[in-house]
Amino acid sequence: MGDTTEFTWEQWFGVLLLAGVGVLILDVLRRLVVGDLGVSTFSTFLWRGLVDGLIIGLAAVGLSMTYSILRFANFSHGDLVTTGAFTGWTAAWLIGGAGVTGLGSRLLLNADGSTSARELNLHVYAEPVAIVAGLVIAAAATVLVALAIDKLVYKRMRDAGGIPLLIASVGVALALRYVIVFFYGERTRGIVRSSPSIDHSLLFWTDSLVVHELVMVVSAVSLMLGLHGLLQYTKLGTAMRAMADNKDLALITGIPTERVILATWVIGAGLTGVAGYLIVLEQETLNFNTGWFLLLLIFAAVILGGIGSIYGAIAGGLIIGLADNMMLVWISGDLTRVAAFLLMILIFIFRPQGLFGGVETA
């Protein structure tokens, strides 16, 4: 009796959507066979879509976590990404470039344009210590910044609803971003040397792997898996979710809510800082807007995946990244973002709670 095969209209819509995606995939195959679409072009789009998706996803995980646990959409998240990037790379430049160039321009990541990553010869092989140290500092500094902000701002409005917090976070975003500008200036800079690459014969479409990209991808995936484990299988993770559900109840149940909030910021901001750092390692350039420009994509990923779901954030990021790149097969570059957003909206029609909404993955 329970096994009725009736579909609700949303499900029909979902089927339709999947069918649409299926048709597109078939069309890609057709084009590959016919020769409309070069294999290398296709593989570039695909690979780049995956990498962009991981970049977005990685940056999105921290937001998804603080979003669901602290219950507000943190618009300063993008600038925490930027904070991580600037602090981490400042550390890397200080360590990696010691003795090479003046302290002033290293400290401010070449704000005066008098040196360069080339002069410092900064890349993973040449300066592994500096790069790893930078990574650690990125996490630590971002955590400190986040905690300071929490203490100064959010802590004073713990009981305010999500919207006042959201607006306050817009204020934080502005302040943070322009503090960075105040010190580092507005110029875009190359931060590391071009990545070395490894020759191989593993993948059919390319015979060399970009090491920095590889580092980003591998760390991103392992970080996200690790975080999922942490939240899913530890008491702290459960306590975090409990607090997200009902803070007062958590309090009277004996969950130390302030400590949980602290832990949330530590993990969330740490991850965010690392994300910023790794994104820059892959992109190789940095600008005070780096995080802010990602923010809309990050939000799209988080919400598409379902707020609070780690897998969701990754899936959301990948969908956005892939759509943004793959759509080039059919449409012009100025409309791919439009297509990605429209796809997202369509997905909401049959999954109003996001892809993984309701299914708690973390």
């Binding site: 409990a242 109840l249 149940t253």
Partner: protein
Amino acid sequence: MLTVDGLDAGYGDLQVLHDIDLEVDSDEYVAIVGPNGAGKSTVMKSVFGLTTYMGGSVEFQSREISGRRPEEIITHSIGYVPQNDNVFPSLSVRENLEMGAYILDEVPEDALEDVFDRFPILRERQDQTAGSMSGGQQQMVAMGRALMLEPDLLLLDEPSAGLAPDLVSDMFDRVDAINDDGTAVLIVEQNAKETLGRCDRGYVLVGGENRYEDDGDALLGDEQVRRDFLGG
């Protein structure tokens, strides 16, 4: 153990409790009854600093806790089942129960088993999210969570509401047993006859003020109390 003396409290600018006196000795079983909106739940919340403190004193185990922030008051020696919003809806049933024993390093398996034995449906549904349980089942989850530790004082705000009759009497038996084991109990109930019949002492709260205080049976016997508050 718990002494409330001349407590004034409320929400924001609004004073709800006026000069409330109340006492619970260790291993005592005390009930609060009264009309809707009398301030019964507010008394309980005030113990946890969840209301706006306006005057008077609250002492727990000889420690003054009035006017403190909830974080400072919380000890693992008070268990509390609030009246509304008393489960974590997106956590599974099992996780809800585990949260009850958060302060312990490990989940006390025997206590958990005990709860599961008491409410078998919870064992069956331990992986279902609490928010999707029926009203009564949620009430069981909330009770179960409070029982995960053996607190020195147990605050119960209308624990019988929404429970099926067999579970209601079961619940009362269980509370008796807990009380016999040395846990002090402060209970708010609209099921006043049953409660007053079992408790040591009872308070009648009206309009945020103490109205009567007596032995449970005495209150139950009082004609006026019966008519005004216990439904004849």
